[in-house]
């Protein structure tokens, strides 16, 4: 409080008030759509169209959340998304940490050119590859399977290069002496990687895990291309396909309930691991 008072004297009370108003107004602008989503999800279709809008519906229709599961295969979509996200995270953890360690710490012919190739794939968004990737998966007979949703990303395709790059930067900061001591003890590169190096990059691993979780959970374009049956839909596709027309009206409450339920897990993870989200963005942002 004292600090604020000192600044008030130096910068003028008006400036402090203006700053707070701006920041709080911005925060309200960011939050309000979410609150409106929750509010709408608890209304029935008649309450939705009342003007002026009511923020706290009376009565609250909690059963909307249950109805989403009855109207569409929401449980199945949820399960698919959990499966795909877990699979991708596990695979990427192995593929990307190993590659990052090798590129940072091991010497072998062709290392730099291979790393450059991998890194240049950051310039290659999936959107550009939609058609040939679809053709490839079709020829592999992988359309509408779990492996098509998991394996490419688990091997670090479509975004994994980013994690390799991030982790490589972290491995590079570890002093050489640690490694040399282990080499003299006769440890193999795998042992060094597993017992010496990996524990030292835990914050980077946390950041990577969170990014992978987010991008896998929210993925839409890729599943849209490689799956087309209802049973294989992930959440994003399920919501996109949920038209929610009934009795000639768009059922906004049900749509909002479905949307809220698909955002919830990532919001929880964000609240629990906020530090890693922000640190990850900062490191990649400024070192990238």
């Amino acid at each position: 409080m004292n600090k604020i008072l000192i600044f008030c004297k130096r910068k003028g009370l008006t400036w402090v008030i203006i700053s707070y108003i701006l920041i709080i107004a911005g925060a309200i602008g960011m939050l309000m759509p979410f609150l409106w989503m929750v509010s709408t999800s608890l209304k029935d279709i008649n309450q939705v169209f009342i003007i002026p809008p009511k923020w706290i519906p009376e009565p609250c229709h909690w059963e909307n959340y249950k109805r989403v599961f009855e109207l569409i295969n929401f449980g199945r979509y949820y399960w698919n998304t959990i499966l795909v996200t877990t699979g991708r995270m596990a695979g990427m953890f192995i593929a990307c940490t190993l590659a990052a360690y090798a590129f940072a710490r091991l010497k072998f012919p062709g290392r730099d050119i291979l790393f450059f190739l991998l890194l240049s794939s950051l310039m290659l968004p999936f959107e550009v590859l939609m058609v040939p990737v679809f053709m490839l998966m079709k020829n592999l007979h992988w359309i509408n399977t779990y492996q098509v949703l998991i394996i490419p990303h688990a091997l670090g395709a479509f975004g994994g290069a980013f994690s390799v790059f991030l982790l490589k930067q972290f491995f590079l900061t570890i002093p050489k002496e640690l490694e040399e001591a282990a080499i003299i003890d006769g440890a193999s590169p795998f042992r060094i990687f597993w017992s010496v190096m990996l524990p030292l990059v835990k914050p980077a691993l946390a950041a990577m895990a969170i990014f992978t979780f987010g991008s896998a959970w929210n993925d839409f374009t890729y599943p849209l291309i490689v799956t087309n049956t209802d049973n294989m839909k992930v959440l994003a596709l399920g919501i996109a396909g949920f038209k929610g027309f009934r009795e000639g009206l768009t059922q906004w409450p049900l749509m909002m309930a479905a949307s809220a339920m698909s955002i919830l897990p990532i919001v929880i993870v964000f609240i629990l691991a906020q530090k890693y989200f922000i640190e990850g963005v900062k490191t990649t942002g400024l070192k990238g």
Binding site: I4, F7, S19, Y20, L22, I23, G29, W36, T40, F49, I51, P53, A95, L98, A99, A102, F103, K107, R111, L114, L117, S121, M123, L124, P125, E127, V128, M130, V131, P132, L136, P152, L155, G156, A157, F158, G160, A161, I183, S188, P189, F190, F220, T221, I225, L237, I239, A240, M256, A258, S259, A260, S262, I266, V267, F270, I278, V281, G285, L286
Partner: protein
């Protein structure tokens, strides 16, 4: 001793290739191979089934005479410019205000601003479709409160793209703000103290200390925002389905329609290749330009 060192060197070769194998396999099989086959396909005419017909550069010629494709390119540029000219400055302003010493609860605000970033694009697109609804949308409700007539957001060809831009700014500002904030925190306080002694006002300090020292962060944000914006697809797919009257059909959306609705596979590939060329050129151009305006300490 010599022998063990030598063997460690060869051990490194073996383990090195083994370690990078999974990631390289993913890269070669699912990215490089599709990219090369996509480039080849762009020179063919193909409906997805049967045999491919080699037609040389015809797809590329067709593209430049295709009114719909040119509209899609323009829409994408319009969207990108909207984000760059409004979204990026907004993120900068918020970061500068949030970075002031007297602000309490900085991390709390930062978390709130970041919430839209982590949310599922499809879900928040649905949400904004509802917020921007003409008769019962919350946005129009506020617009009417301040005394303007309601806007027919997603149903009016003039307003649909601004609607998408508005939504995308809401979604993306937090990310850019966090990076700006980190950049601001990296500026040594001593520069401001010197400026104070010289009697500089807040504008001088912002213009001659903050902006130049922040330029690496700004550069990064402009590049990533540009690349990202050029790939806009999901918002258009969910909120407007490319309409009304093609006003929100973007490049990626047009590629998608060509490939998966009309089965013009070869033509879609040619468009995707052009998009890739645009992305590479834009990055290269910025990298060259940065020498002129990015200031590294």
């Amino acid at each position: 001793m010599r022998e063990t060192r030598l063997s460690y060197k060869h051990q490194q070769w073996f383990w090195g290739y083994l370690f990078i194998f999974p990631a390289m396999l993913g890269f070669f099989l699912f990215m490089l191979y599709p990219m090369l086959s996509g480039i080849l396909m762009s020179f063919t005419k193909w409906g997805g089934f049967g045999s491919q017909e080699w037609i040389g550069t015809a797809n590329y010629v067709k593209m430049f005479n295709d009114k719909h494709f040119i509209i899609a390119v323009w829409n994408t540029i319009y969207y990108t410019l909207g984000i760059l000219t409004m979204g990026v400055p907004l993120a900068l302003i918020l970061a500068v205000f949030l970075n002031q010493k007297f602000i309490k609860g900085r991390n709390f605000f930062r978390a709130i601003y970041y919430l839209p970033v982590i949310s599922m694009m499809v879900a928040v697109s649905m949400l904004w479709k509802w917020l921007l609804s003409t008769n019962h949308g919350l946005v129009n409700y506020f617009i009417e409160i301040i005394g303007f007539p309601p806007i027919n957001w997603l149903l009016d060809p003039r307003w649909a793209m601004p609607g998408l831009i508005l939504m995308s700014i809401w979604k993306g500002t937090g990310f850019n703000m966090v990076i700006f904030l980190a950049g601001l925190q990296g500026i040594p306080q001593v520069y401001y103290e010197v400026a104070d002694i010289d009697g500089a006002n807040w504008w001088h300090k912002f213009r001659h200390v903050t902006l130049p020292l922040l330029s690496p962060a700004t550069f990064f944000i402009i590049i990533t925002t540009m690349i990202h914006s050029f790939q806009i697809f999901q918002q258009a797919y969910i909120m407007t389905e490319g309409g009304p009257q093609e006003s929100t059909t973007t490049i990626v959306y047009y590629v998608y329609k060509n490939a998966f609705e009309w089965f013009h596979m070869g033509y879609a590939c040619a468009q995707a290749v052009l998009l890739l060329i645009i992305l590479i050129l834009a990055t290269y151009l910025q990298k060259e330009l940065q020498k002129k305006w990015v200031f590294y300490e």
